[in-house]
Amino acid sequence: MKADRNSKKPFMSTARNYQTQAVIIKQIKFSEVDKILIIYTPEFGKLKAIAKGAYRPGSKLGGNVEPLTHSLMMLARGRNFDIVTQSQTIDGFIALKNDLWHTSCGLYIVDLIDSFTVENDRNPPLFNLLINALHHLCQTDDSEIILRYFELHFLHHLGYQPQLHQCVACNSPLMPVVNFFSFNQGGILCPNCSNKEAAPYPLSVDALKILRLWQNSDYATARRVKIKPKLSSQLRQVMQNYIKYLLQREVKSMIWLQKLRES
């Protein structure tokens, strides 16, 4: 749903200013002291805004506009970019930022949001999913489950939810045997239909069961599942190859996560 920032501003205080919650997903150095922020908001989706003077020591924005921060922001409409006039941290996800692996997981999550979304495309459930994923990353050591759960539900909110309950080609119910994930058709193929597809990805019975469970459960239930490393690796590969197929390119922060896993 496209959000018109000029006509509908639930927290707007004056015509020129508006207030919104936001997660800072990326920053770009704009000048010696200014930075451009790419933020994700519940009301307007992804936005670009400029944080003037944010690099100055003692800036009031400073740490309140660092990536992976959930803030309450006051913005003023500008000609090219909206201008961040105030920012108050709601959650800085400090536990996440104190650990290399968890920081990298957080950066991967916001990289996915940035890669798949366009500006001014409102999607409040996606904002909630993002906040929940960052919260859960702060609380758990099993970040792989959080990442897979996020990927699955993230794709659902963007309209790419994979069909996991019946064959996407013949609609027949799936049998408890090794089936195949078709990136092209966005779901599972039964063994018979998989012959017609070029290079489908084999998916074990356990992997399919877990994906189905995660698709229909909340974080608390998803986190209770104990997964062996081999199965975890299979789930990671299928989800990440599906994401690469949808994006038609590599996700760079995904490559970084892989390097950290191997080192």
Binding site: P57, G58, G63, E66, I94, K97, L100, L107
Partner: protein
Amino acid sequence: MVSCEPIARLIEAFNKLPGIGPKSAQRLVYYLLRRPDEEAQTLADALVALKEKIGLCSVCFNITTTDCDPCPICQDEERDHSKICVVERPSDILPLERTGKYKGVYHVLHGVVRPAQGIGPEELKTKELLSRLKNNSVTEIILATNPNLEGETTAMYLRRIILPLGIHITRLARGLPFGADLEYADDMTLGQALESRQEF
């Protein structure tokens, strides 16, 4: 449109510099035209020397002149070579030197880890840092990357690869800068300022 080719070329060259638009470029060129020949020659010589005579120090990767390698800091025997301060850019060395409180040597990474842009440790001078640590009797590494998410990520990565070498690793203290306002400090900065509070 400028009809004179040398003027057009110089305007175009100035226009490529950061913060210089076409109007400013034009003003600079006409200003130089009015100045004496020697002044323009000095500027031209300085520009040529910048690319011809400036290189990186083979030890710390700070900027140095090609006829002075290693750089003066690395050559200085008065300095403590058992302490290495790791910084992101050559320009970070100057403010540290201005404090007059650090007498060790440096290592310039030439960037930070940026996973979303595909910039990993391979693109930085991390391999060179590791070989420097393995070959020398270094006792302390001071991680002086910037206190932001990218600087922290880089520092955490360096800590991870240096830790097995058994070298003492320190990080520049973080907290409130002089002239800051408690009311506007973010949670992370304020938390770290509290944790690192000192006897007064």
